[in-house]
């Protein structure tokens, strides 16, 4: 009998990194399906492109850094980064945007800092920030949802648009594209129009943006499943969404003409996605439970500030990156009291 002497515990561990990442991907499926329903196949192309580039870049960096390929390529962390990035892209964004984004996400944000587990910044948001700063125009070309579109582009037309950069002759940008609800709000308020007036536009739905509100609902559905599976803790989503409500409710009650309602805020843009999937990124987030509350609240405050005062219609990416910077300080200030101390 050959005995092995590994230390306790002697049971095999109950979780794996790839298991955690896979569950995050499963949880995104309903939101992605809703996205396809409202905006067509574009998002699937964006996901495929980003995942392909992410894995290729991951493999190249692992090779350069002399790390084993298999465990890190199959941990699905690069896939999660790529999918979260792709979900922030306009459906018909040209292919090289995904490439640029993934270079910044995988090469710069992840491997320059030491690879899995060592990145200070959320890789998907670094990628997004890089492309929105570099290519603001391409990233403002959003499609109108199915209800307002003369016809969503089909598979072949989508592929043509993404890979050639130009639409087939039968389609025109003017007919297809539409400002996002957040864009419309921002420009509208700047033009001194009332929020209620702006909201009369057809791109707005029952409580958020038309289409967007349902995608957000399905993201939330996936998020609840992650909470139930204990893949994420409740601290970040609850703190983030509660802070949005706490800040926007009084503002909306005091000035409903210039301030969007809390529902409008939550159900447009990437806020729900951020609450459950982006700000909950463990590596670049806080370690302590109290710290996670602070982190979530910080993301909410910064997002609202950027939406209100900043140059970008949505501020989630920059809010997350700014809070990433504060993580070491928050962690230090929120250490729990050890038993008996």
């Amino acid at each position: 009998m050959k005995l092995t002497l590994a230390g306790p515990p002697h049971f095999p561990p109950i979780n794996t990194v790839s298991g955690v990442m896979k569950q995050v991907l499963y949880a995104l499926v309903p939101g992605i399906a809703a996205h396809v329903w409202f905006f067509g196949f574009g998002i699937l192309f964006q996901i495929a492109l980003a995942v392909g580039f992410a894995l290729a870049l991951e493999a190249a960096m692992l090779r350069l850094r002399d790390r084993p390929l298999k465990p890190f390529l199959t941990d699905y962390s690069a896939v999660v980064t790529a999918v979260l990035f792709a979900l922030c892209m306009p459906p018909l964004a040209p292919w090289w945007i995904a490439l640029t984004g993934m270079v910044f996400a995988i090469v710069v944000a992840k491997h320059f800092y030491g690879g899995l587990g060592h990145n200070l910044f959320n890789p998907a948001m670094v990628g997004f920030a890089a492309v929105i700063v570099a290519f603001p125009l391409d990233l403002s070309q959003w499609l109108a949802p199915r209800q307002l579109s003369p016809g969503l582009p089909g598979l072949w037309q989508t592929a043509q648009a993404i890979f050639t950069g130009s639409l087939p002759e039968t389609l025109s940008w003017d007919a297809l594209s539409q400002a996002t609800p957040l864009d419309a709000l921002k420009t509208g308020v700047a033009e001194n129009r009332l929020v209620t007036e702006i909201r009369d536009a057809p791109i707005f739905g029952d409580f958020g943006g038309l289409g967007w509100e349902w995608i957000a609902n399905f993201y939330a559905l996936g998020g609840f499943w992650l909470l139930y599976r204990r893949v994420i803790s409740w601290h970040v989503p609850v703190a983030l969404l509660a802070t949005v409500v706490v800040i926007t409710v009084p503002m909306w009650l005091m000035g409903p003409d210039i301030n969007p309602s809390p529902m409008q805020h939550i159900f447009s843009g990437a806020l729900v996605l951020a609450a459950f999937f982006i700000a909950t990124d463990p590596v670049s987030g806080c370690s302590t439970m109290k710290g996670r509350l602070v982190f979530g609240a910080g993301v909410a405050i910064l997002t609202l500030a950027i939406r209100r005062f900043g140059g970008y219609p949505d501020g989630v990416a920059f809010a997350v990156l700014l809070m990433n910077m504060a993580v070491p300080l928050i962690d230090r200030l929120t250490r729990p009291r050890t038993y008996g101390h």
Partner: protein
């Protein structure tokens, strides 16, 4: 809150895990004894603390229950002959701690007669002075049977304030271990009587037995024993929720009282003493029957053993004999664990003997321990934080230890880690966190010792330097004085005068030279 009696209201401790119990498989059959081994291997150290004074030599014939070593203080614990026979040798033999090591063991060859030595029981323990009870318990070689093997006498006797409640710990929280459950089913009266004796030794007014809510027939056997042995009704049975590691001393105290044992203190600081139910039964045997601690119940269980069961084993019985008594191995066994699957020690050999703290031998096959994924970097998921019962930040500790920043790990309270293994069990990156913490504690302990040693050496060195320079200085001064005198052309008379004065001052009292 202070008005609440211990166990009157149950509290929660942070973290912990709900684990599958796996206990009943070893409780189906009644207690049995393995065949008498060919030889018993008795480590002289079966407790936390220094070894006692050895009383026998190779070649000596010994009787069952005869002391083989003697305790000179409460930290030492004597070892007794588990059966009658001959001491064949004192030799190095594999032991469980540290892993893969050997220690001095007495080798006792049984003669099969089981002839008892003359034993002395306490006549009427209810009238006996507590100090005499403790003396008796010490002489019987009691050390904590829960696994930590802390000398029982040292726990009972101390200069702390009044201990008001004795907690008997029957909540063995790790999967598979069922020796305490078996004891509570088979000998509940011994536990209850032993608890009363220990309470008298401590001066405690109340006794609380903590059992798990998932235990079998214990909830019937214990109340029956209380009806018989506890006329003054000082006992309380408390069922605690089975959440690993609720049976840890600190966690159990938190569950029963809501209070935390101070990190630099003891349960006694809260007026509590916590002992294992097995220790209570052993105290009863020692005091009422005069029987020293020479045997204990050991669970032999796990997926790799043919017939899991609880055995009454003589101390010194090699694990191999226990495995045989439990039907032998079943399957591709690759690990023997002393203790439970969460915090037990891996055994390097099946020749390792049963000692006073051996509660369970867990037999695991290759497929039970298999780790099919490599260790990955920490992704800071926080699962370890969620399950840590000590409220530590396990992943932060790991990062500091990995960077060899041991002082920082110490400042994050590394030494408050109880090594329960919850963090490592849930870690998706499969980082052997407990191994890291043990390593870190080892380094820090060594450094602590080395620091103290270095400081002493430095002090010695500095004192010596000072002394040498002072001597040099004196020599220089004297030489100068002499030269001065010679220069000033000192005559014989003044020389004589000076010599007389020197002699006078010497006899007047100790001068510097005399001092030295």
């Amino acid at each position: 809150m202070h008005d609440l009696e211990v166990g009157e209201h149950l509290f929660r401790f942070p973290g912990g895990l709900k684990l599958r119990h796996h206990k009943q498989i070893a409780c189906r059959d009644p207690l049995a004894r393995p065949d008498m081994p060919e030889a018993l291997y008795l480590p002289l150290q079966q407790h936390q603390g220094p070894v006692g004074e050895l009383l026998v030599q190779p070649g000596d014939r010994v009787l069952k229950g005869q002391p083989l070593s003697r305790a000179r203080n409460d930290r030492e614990v004597p070892v007794h002959a588990p059966t009658s026979g001959t001491i064949k040798a004192i030799q190095s033999w594999p032991v469980s701690w540290p892993p893969d090591s050997e220690a001095e063991c007495l080798v006792l060859e049984p003669d099969g007669e089981e002839t008892w030595t003359e034993t002395t029981a306490v006549q009427d323990w209810r009238q006996t002075d507590p100090a005499d009870l403790i003396e008796h318990i010490r002489a019987a070689g009691l050390a904590g049977l829960g696994g930590a093997m802390f000398p029982t006498a040292a726990k009972l006797r101390g200069d702390w304030q009044q201990v008001h409640t004795l907690i008997l710990n029957g909540s063995e929280c790790e999967p598979y271990i069922s020796c305490d459950e078996m004891l509570m089913r088979e000998r509940p009266g011994a536990i209850v009587e032993g608890g009363l004796i220990l309470a008298r030794a401590l001066g405690a007014e109340r006794v609380v037995i903590a059992i798990e809510d998932q235990m079998g027939a214990v909830d019937k056997s214990l109340p029956r024993a209380l009806a018989e042995y506890d006329p003054d009704d000082i006992y309380r049975i408390v069922e605690v929720t089975t959440i690993y590691p609720e049976g840890g001393e600190k966690q159990l105290i938190q569950v029963l009282t809501g209070a935390e044992v101070p990190h630099d203190g003891l349960p006694q600081d809260l007026g509590l003493a916590c002992l294992n139910v097995g220790t209570a039964a052993a105290a009863r045997d020692a005091v009422i029957e005069g029987r020293p601690l020479i045997e204990r119940i050991v669970t032999v269980s796990g997926p790799g053993i043919a017939h899991p069961r609880n055995l009454v084993a003589l101390l010194g019985t090699p694990v191999r004999d226990l495995l045989a008594a439990a039907g032998g191995l079943d399957g591709d066994v690759e690990r023997l664990v002393l203790g439970g699957p969460m915090s037990g020690l891996p055994l390097a050999s099946d020749r390792i003997p049963v000692t006073k703290g051996s509660n369970c031998i867990l037999v695991l096959r290759r497929e039970d321990t298999r780790r099919d994924q490599p260790v990955m970097p920490c992704i800071n998921c926080g699962e370890c934080v969620r399950v840590c019962p000590a409220n530590l930040l396990p992943q932060e500790l790991f990062k500091y230890l990995q960077a060899e920043a041991y002082e920082e790990a110490d400042s994050l309270d590394l030494f408050d880690c109880i090594e329960c293994g919850c963090c490592a069990h849930v870690c998706p990156s499969h980082i052997p966190l407990v191994d890291w913490y043990r390593h870190g504690k080892g380094v820090l302990r060594e450094r602590g010792i080395e620091d103290a040693r270095a400081q002493k050496a430095r002090q010695r060195f500095e004192a010596r330097e000072k002394r040498l320079s002072e001597e040099k200085e004196q020599l220089r001064r004297r030489r100068e004085q002499r030269e001065e005198k010679l220069k000033s052309g000192g005559d014989a008379k003044s020389e004589v005068q000076a010599a007389i004065e020197r002699a006078r001052s010497k006899s007047a009292g100790p001068d510097k030279e005399g001092d030295r």
